[in-house]
Amino acid sequence: MENKTYEDLFEAKLAKNEMIEPKDWMPENYRKHLIRQVSQHAHSEIVGMLPEGNWITRAPSLRAKKVLLAKVQDEGGHGLYLYTAAETLGISRDELLDNLHTGKAKYSSIFNYPTLTWADIGAIGWLVDGAAIMNQVMLQRTSYGPYARAMVRICKEESFHQRQGYEIMTHLAFGTPEQKAMAQDAINRWWFPTMMMFGPPDAESPNSENAMKWRIKRETNDQLRQRFVNQTVPQVEYLGLTVPDPNLKWNEAKKGYDFSEPDWTEFKNVISGNGPCNKERLGARVKAHKDGAWVREAAAAYAKKQNQSIAA
């Protein structure tokens, strides 16, 4: 019967919009759901460093280079906050990384697409970070305290990311004809993968129902996707560029755009490892981890020696 009381307390907290903290009792499924979501989120930040990192050494101006380097560093910082939040749920960093490296844990499918031109760096900051922000703003009020607080810190930095992306796109769209074509090509390639970031349609989203019930999520995939399209289309128009969707149309009745669904078969393919860069992204993470093993061992051995000499 005691469990029932705990569960009532937990439910009561959720009902009152109070945060669940690491020491509070929580249903095992809630914990599992959070570990999956927070770690997936952390992995996405870290793997997300790779497609943009691909252009750090080739950024076309000193300013662009500095801004991009700072941006990619921020994403690493976000990964760190989120790993720390995940650890409060009773899982170690080693275990989390192991799950990523063995392919057991997922990360956002968007990072399995290649960055082929400099315009892709603009498109990622503007569209991908833009989509991430929609999710993350909502998550600042998520029910698990450490996750919500990590999101508050992250959101502060994200708006700078979106601005830097849009600034790159502005330079391109109002630059030479080749630059403008480069920008349009990037939108063409990133539009639908970005739409996929909100997850499958509500009717087919396996984890959504619990996430809403537990107030981990506060808006559905489709709601967020609609909001993203409504916000982004005018920005595309300002650039004098187009959205690669023949069905995109303003719908006065719903005060929003009608638009095509992304190709969910492609989404499933990318999620299950067959995207254009899955092998490269995971390969790069595994290589960095393996190559870094002797560095971590050296640090541990040195720290141990220091402690012994202090103790002695």
Partner: protein
């Protein structure tokens, strides 16, 4: 050519090429916290490079911008020392290269902070704060590697042996710099050599590493005579502006 321009560009090239190398690690570091820390060093170093390039462009006064200087000069026009263009190698090599440069830079900027040229002095004063942290960062890793595991010790010693031949160039003087020393603008780096060697020897000894006996020193960077590595670094860095020479970014 204007001595001040040549000198400022030398300082700028050292920072720019090193920062470019460091930024290759971003996203691939040995663990997350260290990835962030080294990226910080890269960011600081890019910042210094940018300030110096802006000043060089202004001193030259021929309408070239800092970006022009970075993106539209070729290998033979770059005047960085050979040490900073050496490939990252493993993390031990990156750290040893960094420790050599950091200790030198702290000595250099401490003197340059008193330069009669106000802009140079200002850039140096800002850099001192950053480089003080960089010295602490790289030195702490030299200790961990040297006195960590057998593998890390061997890797660090190998890096020291390999990079030592590029350290002499840091202290070379020529007519350009001698003239600027007379004007109170630059620093006689040959006078910093003893201090640097003592600091590095102390650090290596504490880390149970050995300073190499061999004293032959490579040089040429100041005259645009580089190792073969620089060409690849520049082609990668300059590719986009050179592909679209009329574009602004």
């Amino acid at each position: 050519m204007n001595n001040l321009f040549v000198y400022t560009l030398r300082l700028a090239d050292n920072s720019l090429v090193l920062a470019q190398r460091l930024s290759e690690w971003t996203g691939h570091g040995p663990f997350l916290e260290e990835d962030l820390a080294l990226t910080n060093v890269a960011l600081d170093t890019f910042g210094t490079a940018t300030s110096l390039l802006e000043y060089a462009a202004q001193v030259e006064g021929k309408g070239r911008s800092a970006d022009d200087l970075a993106y539209f000069r070729h290998e033979r026009e770059y005047t960085n020392v050979l040490l900073v263009e050496q490939p990252n190698g493993d993390y031990a090599k990156t750290i040893i290269r960094q420790a050599f440069v950091d200790h030198f830079n702290l000595l250099l900027y401490t003197e340059l902070a008193k330069s009669k040229d106000e802009t140079i002095a200002g850039i140096a004063q800002k850099a001192i704060k950053e480089v003080t942290y960089h010295v602490r960062h790289s030195s702490s890793w030299v200790l961990r590697f040297g006195d960590g595991t057998e593998e890390s010790h061997n890797r660090a010693q190998e890096a020291v042996n390999e990079l030592w031949r590029f350290t002499g160039e840091l202290f070379e003087m020529d007519e350009v710099e001698n003239n600027l020393v007379k004007e109170g603008i630059s620093v006689n780096t040959s006078l910093l050599k003893e201090k640097w060697e003592k600091q590095i020897t102390d650090l290596l000894t504490k880390a149970t590493l050995k300073k190499p006996e061999s004293s032959f020193m490579q040089s040429g960077g100041r005259k645009g005579m580089h190792t073969e590595h620089l060409g690849y670094l520049l082609s990668e860095m300059q590719t986009v502006p050179r592909m679209y020479p009329n574009a602004k970014w």
